[in-house]
């Protein structure tokens, strides 16, 4: 546990360069500008680091010579600063790529199996990202959770999407309560029939089932992370598991 907490401004309260890390053809940097004054007793992380370096003295202080973070940003962004202040975004005109061939060593690696036995768990549970549900470490804000459909959460209940044909085989209808079991755990869920989902697959939104904060976020739906386990990708060492075998039974 931390001995010291140094609360940062939120993005609406601070200057920050936001480089786009992937997905664009040329190098692109955005600039976040403060639009409100800090609402709480917080300090910009950059400011904190500059202060700490100054207090420590020596070569560390010399490496952080700026009076404040805004000066640091202006000087390090140099000629990009004026464009960023004017347009909010800077894009490199010319971009050279490392090569023109595409190599993916992972494609040659052995296929990773999904956890669980098909005999005991006939379905495949896939977590999905919803544009209306924040699945990172910060949960949905009240307005955002309000936009989530009543076929994703209803009261405290979370839903799984299932093909009507698969649902009929198990004897489940729209809105039915069901017990979802995976090799990692079990949860009570409701069923939403979705023609667009592949038969034999069930899908559940990521980012729900929070226990923290307040009634606007907590106790809504199921935390899918409790139902799936990590499987290591042998070529990258990353977590390759994005699904798990599952069983759905009438509750």
């Amino acid at each position: 546990m931390a001995d010291l907490l140094l609360p940062d401004h939120v993005y609406l309260e601070r200057f920050e360069d936001v480089p786009v890390t992937a997905g664009l053809a040329s190098q692109t940097i955005g600039l976040s500008k403060p639009v409100v004054s800090p609402q709480f007793n917080t300090r910009h992380l950059g400011e904190t680091l500059i202060c700490l370096a100054r207090a420590m003295g020596g070569s560390l202080a010399a490496s952080f010579p700026w009076a404040d973070y805004e000066t640091c940003l202006r000087e390090t962004l140099a000629e990009k600063w004026d464009v960023l202040m004017k347009d909010g975004v800077w894009t490199a005109e010319q971009m050279t790529t490392a090569g023109s061939s595409f190599r993916a060593p992972a494609l040659e690696a052995a296929t990773i199996g999904v956890e669980g036995e098909a005999s005991a768990f006939p379905l495949l549970l896939i977590p999905y990202d919803s544009l209306r549900i924040s699945s990172g470490y910060i949960g949905d804000a009240p307005f955002m959770i309000k936009t989530v459909a009543d076929t994703v959460i209803k009261g405290k209940d979370g839903f799984v999407d299932i093909n009507p044909q698969t649902a009929a085989e198990i004897g489940l209808g729209e809105g039915s309560l069901a017990l979802l079991t995976t090799p990692c755990g079990e949860a009570s869920v409701r069923v939403h029939l979705d023609e667009g989902i592949m038969p034999g697959v069930i899908a559940m939104a990521k980012g729900l089932g929070h226990t923290a904060y307040d009634g606007y976020l907590a106790d809504k739906g199921v935390n899918i992370n409790e139902l799936i386990g990590p499987v290591e990708d042998p070529s990258s060492g990353h977590d390759a598991a994005w699904g798990i075998r599952a069983k759905l039974a009438k509750a």
Binding site: L131, K146, A149, D150, G196, D214, G215, Y216
Partner: protein, 275 residues
């Protein structure tokens, strides 16, 4: 500064929403609620009492996997003109709490006049109106976000999308001070339009040929304001509600979902008003 006493031609503010661009992200809903001081409760999953001036519906073509196609449809108030300003909701309001403006084409809602009979909600074919079953409650600190330009509503009244009318009022004042006769297109835009990351919503004066919305929609005044754009349609167009929110899609099943068609009927037919 001298202003000539001269009437401007009436405006008809409206929208063109491109359903082939909408990703269903819900940013329009969030921007709208934030802009218009729409409250929130801990549980908003009962959509009958969940107030969303613009609501994004999910449509499907009804075909099984793998031929399923989906479409998201944002639904603000359609600001019906009907025939000569006879919007379904305006016609039934016993309190004159909702009115059709012939100056802007906007259907208003005057909260302090509304006594909550909800005839307008029953009359609206688009479920665009919402009732305040409770007084709004904002958690500590959240009241700081409230817009001072929009009055919060009290328990017992109906509310709905106003096309961000307070923004029109501000833009009109600014135009007057700048000596401009008309509100410039960019000076009055709704919160949902500006928030849409896909650029799916275009807002402006349907009467003004210089406005983008007019150019997209090309409304035909001789044919019940039906769009001349073959991609465009309106919701339940054959009711004669003469709405000012036009939808665009290149997909026939989406255009067909906009009205109740019989199997042998083709899309795009508009009946003459019954009056």
């Amino acid at each position: 500064m001298k202003h000539e006493q001269q009437h401007n031609p009436p405006m008809k503010y409206g929208m063109a929403i491109d359903l082939d661009k909408c990703t269903g992200c819900g940013a329009c809903m969030v921007a709208c609620m934030s802009e218009n001081n729409v409250p929130f409760k801990t549980d908003e999953s009962n959509k009958l009492d969940s107030i969303t001036w613009i609501r994004v519906y999910k449509l499907t073509n009804g075909k099984s996997f793998p031929d399923t196609d989906i479409c998201y449809l944002p639904r603000p108030c359609q600001h019906c003109e009907g025939h000569g300003g006879h919007s379904p909701c305006v016609s039934v309001c016993p309190a004159t709490a909702t009115d059709y403006s012939h100056e802007t084409g906007i259907v208003s809602q005057i909260y302090t006049r509304c006594f909550g009979c909800r005839y307008c909600m029953a009359a609206c074919p688009y479920h665009a109106r919402y009732f305040n079953w409770w007084d709004p409650v904002w958690p500590d600190g959240m009241e700081k976000y409230l817009s001072p330009n929009v009055s919060p509503r009290m328990r017992g009244v109906v509310e709905k999308c106003s096309f961000c009318f307070h923004r029109y009022q501000q833009a009109k004042n600014k135009a007057y001070l700048n000596g401009e006769r008309r509100v410039p297109e960019a000076a009055y835009q709704t919160a949902c339009t500006q928030a849409c990351p896909a650029g799916a919503i275009v807002f402006g004066d349907l009467n003004n040929p210089e406005h983008k919305v007019h150019q997209i929609v090309q409304p035909d005044p001789h044919n019940g304001n039906r769009s001349k754009n073959p991609r465009a349609f309106r919701l339940l167009e054959r009711l004669g509600t003469n709405t000012k929110v036009y939808y665009l899609s290149s997909r026939e099943w989406v255009r067909r979902a906009g009205d109740n068609y019989l199997a042998h009927e083709t899309t795009g037919h508009v009946s003459k008003p019954h009056h």
